[in-house]
Amino acid sequence: MARTDADVLDYCLLRIQSGEATLDECLEENPSYAEVLEPLLRVAATTRAQLAPSGPSEAFLAHSPIRVMNLARARVKAKAPSPRRRPILLLQPAFRLAGIFLAITLLIGSVGVAYASGDALPGDNLYGIKRGLERAALVVSLSEAGDAGLFLEHANRRIGEVEELVRRGRVGDIGPALEGYEHAIQKGLEIAAEHGGALGDFEVALGAHEQVLSSIMSAAPEQALPGLTRALENSRQGRDVVEQIRGGQHPGDLPPGLLRKTPDPVEDATDMPPGQQKKDEARGRDQAPGQIRKTQTPDSSGSD
């Protein structure tokens, strides 16, 4: 079968790339194609020499797998199906709440409505019921540790709601979820700090929230960025609180603003423009995927 210029070019490139032959040797081996091949192989060599990527750094290789796996685990947790889809949850410690939930849902008229509210998002008709059931669960919780766990669960749900709303393009509805997130973190950390326990859970979850929020921000529209930036800051401050308490500080000794920080998450975030988050030099745990420069030049559409 006759070889085409394309076949010979590909074959020569393969031999050069594998180190089996030099460019000149390839030309000598294919004299009848040399005139055509030479300029193409040379332009390929120049292109490769100038644009060959260096590959991932050692620091990235060391930290990234842990970061990505933690985030993946957090997403599995955050996206755990509601009881409607996974009845096995009823057998978990929250089982004691189930009877009370049931009574409440019967009172408001429909078990189906209560279950259906589990997936409701801010702006949906059933969202108020969902949040109401969460408050009811806090009321009937029998211990401080239970309260802290519930607040952490609520924070996870709020992050999931934000992610889903942005994915659906409903960024106008993210305010209540972001507000609820800040509230859940503050209350949960206050309780965890005062009564001990659950700090490790908060630390892991808050790290995962940072990652999720950074990822959301990389694709979110401009109008959502102030609120998301504020939520990201809340996650970081929450982790600072955990670290300081672990370092021996009493919650009462912490600087104001860490545990008590309640301005509106959307309106008050304008003092931190998107993209001002500092990049950690070693790309350690403070650096989240998707947390990249936002210079906002929509006209640079790129090559795709």
Partner: protein, 183 residues
């Protein structure tokens, strides 16, 4: 970087294990394909930090979609490549990604005569500039086959074409690149 590099488990096995809830299997997939996906992204962005961010987002997006993943005659690496392309498209929509050519071009050796060095630098910039002028599929085949030195078969699977079509595409792309440089 082929699917058979790690004889301990095929991609299909690892994916099945992830779908069954075994997170560690995703870690294996990540380790297996981090390098080629990272390098591909690196050819498309100027900052290493951006490449790192995007690379992690690509794998997380893939993880999120893995429960719906079905092998349809394409290798898993081709799926990752498509996710990376989509993520890069999103990146371009929201970032200023125009790269100063002087930053891309590697410095020319001091040992050259200044005139020769200048000519060589000009030539390098011409090549890089011309690459950006090519059709997207020409640019892409040069990135994969020349810059990343992926085998023709892998390039074909990633670009969803036959190996013969890739050989022809590469030939045309290099001809076009050379004409643009000389033109």
């Amino acid at each position: 970087m082929s699917e058979t590099d790690n004889p301990s488990a095929s991609d299909a096995e690892l994916i099945f294990r992830v779908q069954s809830g075994e997170m560690e299997a995703f870690g294996e997939l990540y380790s297996r394909y981090l390098d080629p996906i990272y390098r591909y992204i690196q050819t498309r962005v100027d900052e290493a930090a951006d490449a790192e961010d995007l690379c992690e987002v690509v794998f997380l997006r893939t993880f999120e979609a893995l429960d719906r993943y079905e092998e349809r005659g394409h290798p898993f690496s081709a799926y990752l490549y498509q996710v990376a392309r989509n993520q890069l498209a999103d990146h371009y929509r929201t970032q200023d990604v125009r790269v100063a050519l002087e930053q891309v071009a590697e410095p020319i050796s001091d040992e050259l005569d200044p005139e020769d060095a200048y000519a060589l630098q000009e030539r390098v910039l011409d090549v890089i500039n011309s690459l950006g002028n090519l059709r997207e599929d020409y640019q892409e085949v040069i990135r994969l086959r020349v810059v990343l030195e992926l085998p023709t078969a892998t390039t074909a699977m990633w670009m969803d074409r036959s190996p013969g079509a890739i050989r022809v595409l590469l030939h045309r792309a290099l001809v076009a690149l050379r004409e643009d440089v000389d033109g």
